[in-house]
Amino acid sequence: MTSTSTHSPDIDGAEWNHTSPATADAATTLRRRVRRWAETMDLPDEVTHAIELAGYEALANVVEHAYQPAGRSRSTDGADNPDALTVGGRMTISARRTRTAITVTVTDTGVWHAPSPTPDRNHGLDLIEAISDRLDICGTDHGTQVTIVWTYPAPAAL
């Protein structure tokens, strides 16, 4: 479930990824790890912080929205509650550095439960957008992938 590659930070393509249960505590743990990854890149403090914060907001979204909370999957006859199937879902964060950009992706296999009553607004995603150069969200029936990019030479992390 865990794979990490710790190439020298000076080598293009240095990549790191980790998969965990989609829980708040795991999001915190992964946040600290992606910060440590970023710290090996010799980036400005603001960019390192932006990577930690944006990656965390994406993880927090998975925790809060991707999977039906266990307490709510109370189908009486059990079997065919589709939401129940996603209880205990997982999330993966990966961070990759190339010659031109740093890319952080967060993926899940759930379906985002729109935060009512404003399905198209999300505070965390707005924050990601504000501190990164690009934010892409690709959602399908099989999961969601959030891709956050900071480009060189001048990452727009403030």
Partner: protein, 179 residues
């Protein structure tokens, strides 16, 4: 304290208690610079588990009629319920106002911004709220959210206390007799 949806979407979150810092500008809090409106789309953080509970500590002190919540550690969805449990009652019980000192906060996610708004909404009528922060880790999300237009941001508690004292000059906390 309410559970479930934090904010009734049909109402502006800040139209009670205190005038925004610049009252000629419509209060709009949100990270989207285009500002299509403010919506709190966070789930209740109270269900977060407590493995990281010790990652944040809060302390309540008083400076005359001003209450101060001093926060140390990391504010994220794992710890925000602990902060809320301390700060909401402190806000409700304060006299002139509340200072939330975030100088010792090493990380702050958008869930903390959401909770600061909750805390603000617990203030009694006539009380105001100020934040103290010195690091970009806190200042950046606060400023990007625009929440600092409602609860002013300072880099030290003395300035924050002076701001609150100034805004407490009018006796708005007492109900004016109708006749």
């Amino acid at each position: 304290m309410t559970s479930g949806a934090f904010v009734d979407d049909n109402r502006r979150p800040f139209d009670t208690a205190v005038e925004p810092a610049s009252s000629d500008v419509p209060v709009r809090v949100g990270f989207n610079a285009a500002g299509t409106g403010y919506h709190l789309a966070m789930t209740d953080a109270s269900s977060a588990s407590s493995v990281h509970a010790k990652a944040v500590t809060t302390q309540i002190t008083h400076k005359g009629p001003i209450s101060i919540v001093t926060v140390d550690g990391e504010l994220d969805i794992s710890t925000i319920a602990d902060f809320a449990a301390a700060a909401r009652p402190a806000a409700a019980a304060c006299n002139n106002g509340l200072i939330v000192d975030l100088s010792g906060v090493r990380f702050m996610s958008s869930s903390a911004i959401t909770e600061l708004v909750r805390v603000f909404e617990h203030l009694p009528d006539g009380a105001s709220m100020a934040l103290v922060a010195t690091t970009g880790v806190v200042v950046r999300p606060v400023e990007l959210s625009g929440v600092d237009r409602v609860m002013s941001l300072f880099d030290n508690t003395s300035s924050a206390a002076a701001y609150i004292a100034e805004h407490a000059g009018t006796p708005t906390s007492g109900q004016e007799p109708t006749r």
